[in-house]
Each structure stands twice: as structure tokens, then as C-alpha cells.
Amino acid sequence: MSRVDLLHSLRSQLPSPSRRGEIDCDRARRLLDDYLEYRLRKRDRRLFETHIAGCPRCAPWYAHELRARPALEHHLRLALGASVRSVSLSPAAGARITQSAQASVRRGIWLNRAMIAGRLLAGAVSAILLAAGLVYLLNWVWRLPQATTTPAGTGEILSSSQGTQPLPAPAGVAWDGVLEPGELFPGESFAPAQLLVDAPSGQSQPLTYGLLLFEPGLLQTGEAFTTTLLVRNEQDQPFPVSQVNLDIEGPQRSYHFELAVSDPLPAERVSALRITPGSLAEASQERYQVSPDQIIDTPGVYTIRVTLFHAVTVPAP
């Protein structure tokens, strides 16, 4: 017999395939439990009944099921029920269980209260964190750098700001080599000032302190000056610095310069950032129509503020 003939012969022995609106014997038998428990939808119920009524194989099977199944269920109920009918807890055991249940409910009530209190606390903490995050986000969106004002020529000037600033200034400045205290400026000593730079993760990074120096130390009117920022990076990895701003408030005019910083602050070193008259020349000419030596033009008190921006990556909300 060829393979095709064999397949044909096997197929002819199978029940006829179900046509639309009919079910076959296998499906009818699978539906029996649901039919007897009134779980079939109206359409399936009708299909089942039509099939049983018209199928010479399934009709006797169904009739048998109607007799045998209740008998089986009856035997099961009787046997299981009878096997435990005389089994019951002793009064002493019942009392013990009641006592432990009462104690357990009391514990459960306390546990429930503790859980509610915990949830409230967690909710409050979440709300505070959310509010803090919102403030942080708004601050980042509006880019409000927090700057520290220092008197000219002294004090710590380094501060952090949130957010990544675009680099507006075409001409940038670079870290001027690696310095050690005392090497470049004999007689000057660092007064260590620990600075905490807020990181977006909420952990502060203790990394730097700064010193602002001016050359020459005593300015005369009409004299250009160089601002040198000494910064120590105490971390074992470079610290990303993207921009430095120089704000000068004089008795008559105020100046604002934004300069890009080309390299990160080297690790575990003191580095100098020099803002020379040359690096201010283009910006001061374009914006204020003055040359750097005209910035200090009248005697008086000048407040110079240097703000260092570090690049941060704000995690996606």
C-alpha cells in the first residue's frame, strides 16, 4: 500500500470532520462536564444536544454517563463523608486552638496597624522625595546656578551648579598643567576648604577646593588682569567641568563672561585654570565694546565671582 493510500485509509476511519454548526464526538465528550454543570453557552449547549441526539455512538455513551456519574459521585461523597464522620476535635484541643486563634488575631491587628503606619510613612517619604525631585527638576529646567560671592582676590569661590550648560563661548580655557601647592606660587599656601558638590544621585561628592588668585595682586585702573583658579580634585577619577563663568560687579558696570572648559579636572591633583585678558578679549569686545584693560576703569570696590559648572547626567524621570 502506498503512503497516500495509507493516509487516505486512516483518514476514512476517523470521525467525519466537524462542519460549521456541528461538533464531532471528541468535542462532545470534552463538553460533557460543562454541559452537566450548566456552564455551556447557549450555542454550545445547542450544538452538544444536537450532536448527542443524532449520533449513534454518543447517545448511548451519554445515557450511560447520566447513570454512572451520579453513582460515582454518590460513592465518593459517602466514602469521604463516612471516613471522617466520627472524627472530631477533643474539647481540650478545641480550647487550645481557640486560645491560640485569639492571640493570633490580636497579633494580626497589631501587624495590620503597623503595616498601615508603615504605608503612611512610606507615603510621606515618597511625597517628600517627590517634592524634592520636583524642586530639583524645576531648578534644572530653569538653570539656576548657585554661586558663591567672594571678595575679590580671596576665599573659596568654587561652587556647583545643576544641569549641563550648553557651551556658549566660542573661545575656551584649559586647565593649565598640573601644579603642586607651593610650586607655582611660592609663599602661597592652600587653606583647605572641603567643598561638597551635589550629585544628581543625591550623594554628595567631596572632591575639590579652590583658591582664586589675581595677577597682579594689586590692580590699578586701566590694567588688565589674569584670574587664576586653583582647584584640587581629590577623587581618583577626572571630574567633568564644562564651563566657567566670570561675573564682575564694579561701581559703575557689571560684566558677565561664559567660557567653555575644554578638559575635565585631572584626578588627585591640583590644577590651575587661567582666565587671561586674551580669553576675555573677544567676548568683552562683542558684548560690552570694551577691551579687558577697560574693565577696571574706576577706583572702588569690585566683586568678582567665578562659577564653575560641572557636567552632570540627569537620569531620565
Binding site: A63, A79, G81, S86, A101, Q102
Partner: protein, 224 residues
């Protein structure tokens, strides 16, 4: 009318049960005592059917009520959630965790002195009692031959009288799985009990098929 009375009585019973549970949730000790008394023997017998050991069944009953009462303040009384099913679920979980221990052995029914245990009515004739006990023993022996998962659905259905949905809640499985397990368990039991002569043989090779039994009319089917 009888149906109406029955359903309203069930509803009333459910209301009483809900009120009792609410009082228990507030820590009312008398209510807890009433709740334990109401359900302790149901739980104990279920544990006994699963564990086959009185001491273990007692321990598991105690454990069930301890766990249930601890979780009771968080139990939500609402439609479609059965307290009995919830309690049975805890009981079944307690029994299962005990049975998972390596040393645990389920004692087969025949070793329990079954005939002595189900003491017959005084009016029953001794030979009938023996015959009936023997039949019941065979049924229990057949149930024993099922695997644990099939045995549990049979116990929950035919002893605890839970619906498929309630069994699904107890065992934490879909109700379709419950139906399938019940179907398989019933077929296996039928095979075993047919061999023992307690249940009629199947139709394919059995007497009904051989006699060419009359198909039932569709009209009659609806009344089943």
C-alpha cells in the same frame, strides 16, 4: 418556593458569617471563639482527609487557625470571595507544607481500621455494615491511587462540596485546570471502581453500547 426559602436561608447564613468575621476583625474574643467553633471540625476533617493522622490533623488545624486569624484583619468581605474557600486554602497549604517534609508518609486508608472507625448505626445488620464498609474502603483505596493534585480536587469537591471556582481559589490555580483535573480524576476513579465492580462499565465496550441503548431525546437532555 422551597428553592426561594433555601436561597434566602443561605443569604441569611452568609450575612451572619460576614457579621461574625467583622467582629473577629475588630478583635472580639467571643466572636473568635464562635468562629473557631463553627469551622474547627470542618477544617480538622479536611486536614485529616489529607494527612490521615489525627495528631497531624490537629496540629494543622491549629496552624490553620493561627495563620488565618493573623491574616483575618486583612481579609476582605465581598461578593465572590468565600471565607470557607479562603480558610480551606490556608488549611491545604499547611498540610502540603507538612507533607513536603521528606520523612512524612501518608498512611494508606486500609491501615486505619476503617471498618471500626465508621461505627454503624445500632439498627444496621452486621453483614450490611461489613459490606458497606468494604465498598467505602475500596473507594478510598481508589482515591489513594490518584496523585496528590487529583486527590485534592476530589476531596475538595466531594467532601468540602466546593464549586470549581472555590477549588480554584483554594489551590490557587485557574478554574479550567480544576475542571480538567476533576475530569481526569473521575475517569481514573471510574476505571478503578469499575475493576472493583462498584461502578458500571463504560459505554464503548460496556453493556449500554452492546445493547445499542436508545439515544436520549434532546428535550430530555435539558432537564438533566
Amino acid at each position: 418556593m422551597a428553592r426561594l426559602i433555601a436561597s434566602s436561608s443561605v443569604a441569611a447564613q452568609e450575612q451572619v458569617g460576614a457579621a461574625l468575621i467583622r467582629r473577629c476583625q475588630q478583635g472580639d474574643e467571643l466572636a473568635i471563639e464562635a468562629l473557631v467553633q463553627r469551622y474547627q471540625n470542618y477544617v480538622y476533617r479536611l486536614c485529616y482527609l489529607v494527612m490521615r493522622n489525627e495528631q497531624d490533623a490537629e496540629d494543622m488545624t491549629q496552624e490553620t487557625f493561627i495563620r488565618a486569624c493573623r491574616a483575618l484583619p486583612r481579609f476582605e468581605i465581598r461578593e465572590g470571595v468565600s471565607f470557607e474557600a479562603w480558610l480551606y486554602r490556608i488549611a491545604v497549604n499547611c498540610c502540603r507544607s507538612r507533607m513536603r517534609r521528606k520523612w512524612y508518609q501518608v498512611v494508606p486508608w486500609q491501615r486505619l481500621g476503617f471498618g471500626e472507625r465508621i461505627a454503624a448505626n445500632a439498627e444496621d445488620r452486621p453483614e450490611r455494615v461489613v459490606l458497606r464498609d468494604e465498598q467505602r474502603g475500596q473507594v478510598l483505596k481508589a482515591i489513594d491511587k490518584l496523585g496528590e493534585k487529583h486527590r485534592l480536587v476530589i476531596i475538595l469537591r466531594y467532601y468540602a462540596d466546593l464549586s470549581n471556582e472555590e477549588i480554584a481559589q483554594v489551590l490557587n490555580i485557574p478554574s479550567g485546570t480544576v475542571r480538567s483535573r476533576l475530569h481526569t480524576a473521575r475517569w481514573r476513579l471510574r476505571e478503578l471502581l469499575t475493576a472493583a465492580g462498584l461502578v458500571e462499565e463504560g459505554t464503548e465496550a460496556g453493556p449500554a453500547a452492546q445493547r445499542g441503548g436508545e439515544p436520549l431525546a434532546v428535550g430530555k437532555l435539558g432537564a438533566v
